[in-house]
Amino acid sequence: MSVEEVNFEAELADRATGEPALVVDVEGFEGPLDLLLTLARQQKVDLAKISILALADQYLAFVEEARKLRLELAADYLVMAAWLAYLKSRLLLPDPPAPEGPSAEDMANALAQRLRRLETIRQVAEQLLNRPQLGREVFQRGLPEPIAEIKRPQWTATLYDLLSAYASRRQTQSRTIVRMPKRSVWSLAEAREAVERLIGCSFDWSPLDQYLIEYLVEPSQRPTVLASSFAAALELVREGRLELHQHAAFAPLYVRARAQQSESGAAPQSGNG
């Protein structure tokens, strides 16, 4: 898309000869303002003192050249060309007696100002980019140490929770205490004590049932009394203090105190379970 290949040396050479080069390479430019700025730079003067008229001529020549080459110029470039043509005519003609809107001078100054602004922003952009950048020139800690979170419980309870819990528990308990049912379970300890007491020193075989008869008055107590006293009796047998005897399964159990109790009962381990 270029008439002359742009290269740095060529540009330098052109500048050296003082002849502004016309490089038609639309793709290289960031829009018409960029193109204008490039052309302006070739005037080698302070942008404040630039000849807008000369600049307009250069731009229009560029567009003309591009058209000759049937380059497809973006609308932006053409709008700028039209505007510059208008500006040029205004600059060449004396101002009308009662000018409407800005004077040609003002328009030219505004354009020069825009060019300066673009140039400045490019300069500061470069300065910004030349600063040491994080992850490029300067680096942060490669191994940051994470903050561990320790969960501390904040216990919550309201006075209402407290009072209602207290009242309802006390109330429940007060009822249970009043209606305490009769003990329905004969504990092993109780059974053992009873069996020991009842059998005493009887060395005769007697049915276990007989000893317990006085506890069997209430039918509902029967299973627990039987179970506990049987277990207690077995324990006493293991300790060598009782003997048990049964003819057959489900036959009555006979029980008697064991003879060699006199050895101060110190043979709890010797029983054969």
């Binding site: 490669g142 191994l143 904040q154 216990w155 407290l162 009072l163």
Partner: protein, 234 residues
Amino acid sequence: MANVAEMRVIVGDRDQTEAEERAEELRILEALLFAAEEPLDEKTLAAPLPAGVDVHALLTQLQQDYAPRGVNLVRVAGKWVLRTAGDLAWLLTREAVVSRKLSRAAIETLAIVAYHQPVTRAEIEDIRGVTTSKGTLDVLLETGWIRLRGRRKAPGRPVTYGTTEAFLSHFGLDALGDLPGLDELKGAGLFEAALPAGFEVPVPSDDPALRDDEDPLEPGDLDLGLVPPTDRAE
């Protein structure tokens, strides 16, 4: 004399140059260690330094330089890494307060301690009618709302529990005596009308003075690891 002075100057200069070189080498190691994403071995650390530099000696010096600082240079598995000084580890933790509700058992136990203090665990269990797990009392001690008061003068010398100032403050009570009595509780509808004759709600007191039936705690009692929050709350 002149010669000696001259020599001194020369030696001084050389020393200074050496010191500057050394400082620059230390800077390089510092930057490498700081930016590194993993512990670095001495070979890696030596790479950007002039040949022949004793990187191990430099690292040892850097380690000494950093020893009194907030960050230390430490060796891990034969490699070097910068780490927060061990005594400052607390800086790297953040306490997050998590709101937790007390269990029903804990609330009941707390209420019983409040009304019946000084009270032993067995007494609490008697009033609640169920066994109180050790965990429940631990949680309450952790809240800072109950504390160990003393020991009951009774077989087994059980510990007695009472409430703390933190308890009063949490529940917005000016004094323990502000806890409502039976009539007020009834009035609030918390007790049903039908209560057995002789049913009472004690008039609570958290007088810190030990009762006649209490002995002071023994030194070991407070070392259970249960009490610190209570202590702090007081």
